[in-house]
Amino acid sequence: MKKLKNVDELKALRDDCLEKFKGSEKTRIIVGMATCGIAAGAGEVFDSIAGEIMKLGLGDKVTVVRSGCMGACHSEPTVEIAVPGEESVLYGNIDSQRAKVLVRNHIMRNEVVSELVLEKTYKTIS
């Protein structure tokens, strides 16, 4: 990464980053890893998901990301799965076993694991 010298360079970097994150056809798995999530076991969930993705050879189709708090403290650890072109799904009360179920069902077979879905009660400003 080089120092950005002007606004245009920042814009160019933004477009590159957009391309990298949104333009790609990769599914994004986000694990809520604020202090609260980690305390509830999100670290193990992350490792489990990352391990499963490796094992199944899905590395070029899926990115696994650590994020901050998703807000659903009542159901930590939380995981959100965003398949390109589809509405993302928020899951709660995930442990390392359930994490594997999510990968196998939601990622491999494109089936939502409905009993673990959390309702999203928020909109985000555009």
Binding site: M1, L4, R14, T35, C69, G71, H74, E119
Partner: protein
């Protein structure tokens, strides 16, 4: 079921981006607000835009942010400073921690914007040392921002330079008060001083300083990206935008919520929070932490903003929101907060140091069952004196939990004092456990559970509690499977 009542502005990136990767922040227009400001706007324009947005301090006071920056801009000084107050200390509050852990760059960007507006080239983040992950992520964010030249010398090739340094709090609640915080950054005792002079005049190292809360800052980049006019359309007449609340206590869906100002408590507790745990009844909601008050059910439909909460005897505060069910003793709650504030009082002024201690002692007396009606009069009188005479916000607001519970739950105070009972059955000195003879089958479970060995009785015969020896721990009450033990 519930429509989407939450609106995320301050939390827009929380739980969405990887906070340790600046590229993800940039992909979501990160640092674009700052970049556009540096190329197209004068500092005065920035202040005007913030004034137009109606943004007010989210740390609790609700002071208009644009005005705060304007004051610091107008005051002369060799240097000026921007301080981010991340000394979140209210029991049950975790809004700022979540923002810092989930979207640290938003805070850095906002600080640089404020620096440009005020004419400051140095910023400090005062963060409590008990937030190691937030500190770690801020450090990573700072390093990345420096590397890309988004913080530091001649940002994006402009003549504007802005450096940010981190300072760690040592665990004192009072250091969230801005003058105490400034003292602490300077390496002095974390004690507040009288205002004026306000930090905007003589703040850090006696120079004009703006102190802003984490959540306030997190709103700023989005305000510039979306436009102040659009932001000002959200909320109520006097309070614009959204507020993040840390929903905790006896509510089904505890969590971090962000709602437009003007949302009612009912919507937060029941629609978003999913109602009270175990199907119990709602009793009160505590807002504003140790500086706030308890709001009873009659106000569930009040649209919340800075003014309405003050009117009903509480305050917005930083955003802790503790829900209490019908089994909560309001005297006990008031005592809990008083214990906290007496513990955290810095001791500089008499009203807070001694006054609050006396308040606490009276509450202790009442919950012990030795309080008198005179004590209730004294409690109120003393509380009001402390409010009027304390030096800083901590002391001035410390009696609020007592005064607000007295206002709305006076019958409970009276029950403790006159009838020597605790209606909620929380205050152990006022609780009496008894075994109902007809219901007791003599299973001996209670006797086995009793740590004081004060339950007497033969197997298959009704047992009796020796009231003189009973320590009122409630173990028997929990152990009994036949509802044969009553609590009064």
């Amino acid at each position: 079921m519930s429509t989407k009542k939450q609106l995320r502005i301050a939390l827009k990136n929380c739980g969405v981006i990887d906070p340790e990767n600046i590229e993800e922040y940039i992909a979501r227009d990160g640092y674009m607000a700052m970049a556009n400001i540096l190329t197209d706007m004068t500092p005065e324009d920035v202040i005007d835009e913030l004034k137009k947005s109606g943004l007010r301090g989210r740390g609790g006071g609700g002071f208009p942010t644009g005005l705060k920056l304007e004051l610091a801009r107008k005051n002369q000084g060799k240097k000026k400073y921007i301080v981010c107050n991340a000394d979140e200390g209210d029991p049950g509050a975790f809004m700022d921690r979540s923002i810092l852990e989930g979207d640290p760059h938003a805070v850095l960007e906002a600080m640089a914007i404020c620096g440009y507006a005020v004419g400051a080239s140095n910023g400090y983040i005062y963060i409590r040392a008990e937030y190691p992950l937030a500190i770690e992520r801020l450090k990573i964010a700072l390093k990345q921002a420096y590397k890309l030249g988004l913080i530091g010398k001649n940002i994006l090739g402009s003549s504007f330079s802005f450096d940010i340094e981190m300072k760690y709090g040592a665990g004192a609640f009072v250091c969230g008060e801005e003058t105490a915080l400034i003292n602490s950054i300077e390496g002095n005792r974390g004690e507040p001083h009288f205002k004026p002079p306000y930090p905007a005049e003589k703040g850090l190292w006696n120079m004009p300083t703006t102190v802003n809360n984490v959540e306030t800052l997190a709103n700023i980049p989005t305000i510039f990206n979306m436009g102040a006019a659009k932001f000002a359309k959200i909320g109520t007449k006097t309070s614009k935008g959204t507020k993040v609340f840390a929903l905790a206590g006896n509510v089904n869906k505890v969590g971090l919520v962000e709602v437009p100002m003007g949302t009612t408590l009912r919507e937060i507790v029941f629609d978003i929070g999913g109602g009270i745990t175990d199907g119990k009844g709602f009793k009160a909601v505590q807002t504003g932490g140790p500086s706030g008050g308890c709001i009873p059910a009659q106000f569930l439909d009040v649209p919340i903003d800075y003014e309405s909460l003050k009117e009903i005897g509480s305050m917005m505060g930083s955003g802790g929101m503790i829900i209490m069910d019908e089994n909560t003793c309001m005297v006990d709650i008031a005592k809990y907060y008083l214990e906290f504030t007496t513990d955290e009082s810095c001791g500089k002024c008499t009203a807070c140091r001694i006054g609050n201690k006396r308040l606490y002692e009276i509450l202790q007396k009442i919950t012990d069952g030795t309080g008198t009606e005179e004590d209730l009069v004294k409690l109120k009188e003393l509380g009001e004196i402390i409010k009027d005479t304390s030096l800083c916000g901590l002391g001035q607001s410390a009696p609020n939990p007592v005064l607000s519970t007295m206002k709305y739950f006076y019958d409970e105070y009276e029950a403790h004092v006159k009838d020597k009972t605790c209606p909620a059955g929380i205050c152990s000195s006022l609780t009496k456990y008894e075994i109902v003879k007809d219901k007791c089958i003599g299973c001996t479970l209670c006797a086995k559970a009793c740590p004081a060995a004060c339950i007497i009785g033969k197997v298959r015969e009704p047992h009796v509690i020796d009231q003189d020896k009973c320590i009122k721990c409630g173990a028997c009450y929990k152990a009994c499977k036949f509802d044969a033990i009553t609590k009064s």
